[in-house]
Structure formats: C-alpha cells, structure tokens
C-alpha cells in the first residue's frame, strides 16, 4: 500500500523516532494518520502497518478495538462529534446531540445515506470551559448552539 507523499514522509520520520528495534511504537500513530487517508482501518491497512512496524498483523489488529478513534468501517467525509460529558451536559450538550440526530436523521456512529456526514456522541474532548463543544473531523467548535450547529452542517453540505 502507498500513501500520499506527505504521509510517506511523516511515516519515514516516525519510524526513526523510537529506540532501535522498537518500531512497534509507531503502530497507533500510524494507524490513525493512515485511517484519515484511507477512510477506515481495513484488513489491508492492518497488514501494511504490521509490515512497516515489523510486528505480526495480530498485534496491530488487537489495538484497533481499544482506541475509540479507530474504526473498521468508514465514517462520513465529515465526522461530527458532539460532547455530552459533564461540562457540556450542564450547558445543553445533550440537547445539542439530540438536535444533531434529528437534523441529520442518524444516530450514534451512523453515517448519512450519501456517506457524507457521520455523527458520534463523544466523551470529553478538552473544551470544557468553552462548552458545549463539537469537533468536526479535527476542527473544534466552541459555545455551539443548535442554530450554530445547523449552520455548520449546512456549510458542510454546501462544501460537498
């Protein structure tokens, strides 16, 4: 498997970051960066990461289920993550999540029929003092209201 030149460069550097004989250390970061490009942790990707990190594929496979950001099925092009943990909960995070479900017509870890947008109710993302918070792919949005979320989602649809 080949990745983009930028990612290949990142991976080449990554494999030199750890002590001699410890390439396994690159498994988790390599999986998450590659997932961003491939769309999901596919069996081919597992084999490829295993080859590059010089470990049996099973040692890559077994970490996938542990980390909540890694997924074996593709999420939408835009992954909308709404936090409902305690700080967000107190200022409307749950209502915001329910609003997102209605607006998108999907639930937790589901993808819209066109494959463009997915939704996830997530745990604390570290935006507690600027709650309620939403992260779309890797972009943080703070003090999100249902109206603001509508605008964000409408913006994603226009961007397609």
């Amino acid at each position: 498997m080949n990745f983009s030149p930028q990612l290949e460069e990142k991976f080449a550097k990554m494999l030199t970051a750890y002590p001699e004989g410890r390439k396994r250390s690159a498994v988790v970061p390599m999986l998450i960066y590659a997932q961003d490009e491939v769309g999901a942790v596919t069996p081919e990707l597992i084999d490829e990461v295993a080859r590059r990190c010089e470990v049996p594929p099973l040692q890559v496979d077994e970490v996938v289920g542990y980390y909540s950001m890694l997924h074996r099925k593709p999420m939408g092009k835009y992954h909308v993550q709404v936090c409902t943990n305690i700080s967000c909960l107190l200022v409307g995070g749950m209502e915001l999540y329910e609003h997102a479900c209605k607006k998108l017509g999907i639930g937790h870890k589901e993808v819209t029929a066109d494959g463009q947008i997915s939704l996830e109710e997530v745990e604390c993302m570290g935006a507690c003092s600027w709650a309620p918070a939403v992260e779309i792919n890797y972009d943080f949005h703070h003090h999100v209201t249902p109206e603001k979320l509508d605008q964000l989602i409408d913006g994603l649809r226009k961007a397609q």
Partner: protein, 430 residues
C-alpha cells in the same frame, strides 16, 4: 497580531505560566526568547543536576496531571547513573472531564514547555523526550511539530544545544482516543504500540518505564512550570502558594458560571471567591448546589463545603481532590441523578476491562443509574450504588476504578435527596 484568547483573562489572576498568553505571536520562539525564554535553561546548564532537582523540590511543585505527587521527589527517583538510556515522557493526553488547560499551554506557549523538558533532561541525563498528545488534539500535534521544528532550526533542540554539548531530541506521538492512556503506565503501553492497559507497580516508571528504561513522566503544566522555578528560584515559586503546595496553577472552570474559562491562580486561592469573582458567579442569581473541584473523578462537594482554600491538602482534608484543575460548578437546578449517570457512562465507556472490579463495577453502576433515570428506580438502589462503588475502591491496578467509584459514593451520600425526589415522582406517576 495577538491571537484571540478562548476567554478573557481576569485581573485577579497571578499569571506566571500564562504570562505570555495573548502576546503577539506568543507561540513563536522569538516571542518566547524576548520574554524571559531560555534564561532558565542557560542557568540550569551551569548548575549541578542535583541542584536542579533540589530547586524543584524547594518549589513545592506538585504534579498537575491529577495525582499531585511532589515533582522534585519524582525526579529524584530516576536513577541518573543507570547505564540504560533515560526517557522523558510528557503526558498531554488531557482527558479528565472538566480539564482543558494543557491545550492552552501548548497552543499559546509551546516553548515554555520545551524549555521545562530540556531542564529535566539536564537534571536526569536524559536525551530523548516523547510528547504523548491525545488524538483529538490533532491541531495541537501539528502545532507542536511546528514549534519543535522551529526549536531545532534555531539550535534549541538536537545536537549540542546552544553550544553546551547537551543533546536532546523531542518527538510528538499521537494517541487515538482513550481516557485510560492518561494513566502513566497505560500511557507507556500505548507509547509502545499496545492497548493502553495499566502495569503492575512496582517497578515504577522511574526505574522501568518506556521500553523498560528509566522514565520520567510529567504533565504538560508540570513541565511548563519548570522554567519559572529555575529562573526565579524554587523558593519564590513556593511562596506563591501554601506550604507544600507551591506556585500557581491553571484552573479550568466550567458549568453554571457566567465566565467559564481557564484562569491561573496561586495554590490556596479561596474557592468561593474564585467562583464569584473570577468565574463571574452563577447565572440568574441562582444558588450554588455542588462543585466538582478537579475533574470528574474527584468526590463532589456540597455548596456548604466550598468555603475552602484550593490546595491539595485542604481538599484532601475534606475527602476530595484538587485533581487536574477541572472545576465543574453546578447550580440549584442540577439533577444529581443525571450527573451521576453521565459520569458513570463515561467511566464504563473508558474502563479498559483489565481489572474485573472496574470493568464489571462501572457497567453495573451505569445500568442501575440508567434504570433509575429512566423511571425504574427502587428504594434499595441508593444503598446498592454506594455498596457497589465501595467494593471497587482500591481493588484495581490503576486509579480508574477509584475514579469511577469516588464521585458515585459522594453523590449518593451527599445528594440522596435528589434520588428520593425521583422515587417520589415515580410513585405519583404510578
């Protein structure tokens, strides 16, 4: 251009670690150097390693990640003379609900933390550092990669730093979503490419940490405090706080306050004054009901317990913790059943499953609380929740089991009335 801050600073703050927040290009090496940057490193390189550690001990700095362990003591546990390479691991996995300060320290002042890491390198004879950042903070991983590249470019990282003959390499390492990886031994397993499961201690990471080598692990904020300590002296830092609780810390206040935000105050700052004057008080003139003082794993405080100074020991005295500095304020309208349930949903989701009391305990607590919230509560549930939680305490490898149990014990104990109210409503409904 000065970057727009996430929240307006308060004039009541004591800004030591956050003093560069809001300066033009505060994240750049040039701004850092123009504002006291690397003075501490230059001073430290003239000091004996033992003297650096002694200065950190004098500062009474305690770990800002949650446990509050004395930092200088932790540094002294790393065997400097070990023939093995020694590693420095920076915990930037910030995941404790209520906590959002390390983000700002990395975003606004990355070189302050880098300088702190280098000073630790000098003290411990360590030459490699790994900055473990949670996967959700991708923008910060990219940001830190740029800051690190800038430091390499100007000779502040890499070989022969500033002509001192001291070498140090620093790398970022991405997590991929797991609260458990904030626990230091689970973080080390994750760094080694495994599932983040806690290790049996001893051996402690100081002796056998990353790749079985001596390893120092500290939080982002802990490292960020080091330059000020070395530059101005440990005694000056210690004097800002209360005895055994040195310096200032960044508190993240969220929930029912008019001005939620991250504010830097000396250890021992009065909690009620902080809520009223810095965080702007509670909206709508409503009354305070409860405070989680330092992240969701800390036992909750009733309003009448909040008239205390915020330092590790004062909070320990009333059975809670200062934790990671994530203060969650709740007003009189808050339903504690919903709070307990949401906290337990989190711990049940994040339990790594390694220790059965935690894996099963969090699952059962979540199920009971969910049933209760759905209107299926029973009178005996309150006692059952307390008993189940108490059976988890101290029976797990890491602190996650305790972290899940403690808030539940304190909520059912202090806010049993909220549960009884729900049961009374159920009776009416029937």
């Amino acid at each position: 251009m000065p970057k727009k801050l996430y929240n307006e600073p308060s004039p009541l703050e004591t800004r030591i670690l956050s003093k560069r927040f809001g300066l033009d290009n505060s994240e750049s090496l040039a701004t850092y150097i123009a504002n006291d940057g690397f003075k501490a490193f230059r001073k430290a390189r003239e000091m004996k390693p033992e003297a650096i550690i002694e200065e950190v001990k004098t500062s009474a700095l305690r770990g800002r990640g949650g446990a509050g362990f004395p930092t200088g003591l932790k540094w002294s546990f790393v065997p400097r003379s070990s023939p093995k390479p020694k590693y420095i691991v920076i915990n930037a996995d910030e995941s404790e609900p209520g906590t959002c300060k390390d983000r700002l320290l990395m975003e606004y002042d990355p070189h302050q933390m880098i300088e702190g890491i280098l000073i630790a390198g000098l003290a411990l004879d360590a030459h490699k550092g790994y900055l473990y950042i949670r996967g959700e903070y991708r923008y910060l991983i990219d940001h830190m990669d740029r800051a690190i590249a800038e430091a390499y470019g100007q000779g502040y990282l890499g070989k022969n730093i500033l002509g001192t003959g001291f070498d140090f390499d620093l790398y970022t390492h991405s997590g991929a979503g797991a609260y458990e990886c904030g626990e230091e031994t689970a973080l080390l397993d994750s760094l080694e490419g495994k599932r983040g499961i806690p290790r049996m201690k001893p051996p402690f990471p100081a002796v056998a940490g990353a790749w079985a080598s001596p390893t120092l692990l500290n939080n982002v904020e802990t490292f960020s405090a080091i330059p000020a300590i070395i530059r101005d002296g440990g005694a000056a830092f210690a004097a800002l706080g209360t005895p055994k609780n040195g310096g200032t810390r960044l508190l993240c206040v969220s929930g029912h306050v008019n001005k939620p935000g991250v504010y830097e105050v000396p250890l021992g700052y009065p909690m009620l004054k902080f809520i009223e004057e810095i965080a702007g008080g509670i909206p709508g003139g409503r009354k305070l009901k409860a405070v989680i003082p330092g992240g969701s794993s800390c036992p909750i405080l009733k309003a009448d317990e909040c008239d205390i100074p915020m330092d590790y020991d004062s909070l320990a005295k009333i059975g809670s913790m200062l934790g990671s500095g994530g203060m969650v304020v709740m007003d009189e309208t808050t339903d504690m059943v919903k709070v307990a349930l949401r906290i337990m949903r989190f711990y049940a989701h994040e339990s790594c499953g390694w220790c059965i009391p935690c894996r099963e305990g969090t699952t059962w607590l979540r199920k009971i609380l969910q049933r209760f919230d759905d209107g299926g509560g029973r009178h005996e549930d309150v006692a059952l929740l307390g008993e189940l939680s108490k059976n988890m305490l101290g029976r797990t490898f890491c602190a996650l089991g305790d972290a899940a149990a403690m808030p539940t014990i304190s909520i059912v104990d202090k806010f049993a009335a909220d549960f009884e109210k729900r049961l009374a409503q159920q009776m009416v409904a029937v």
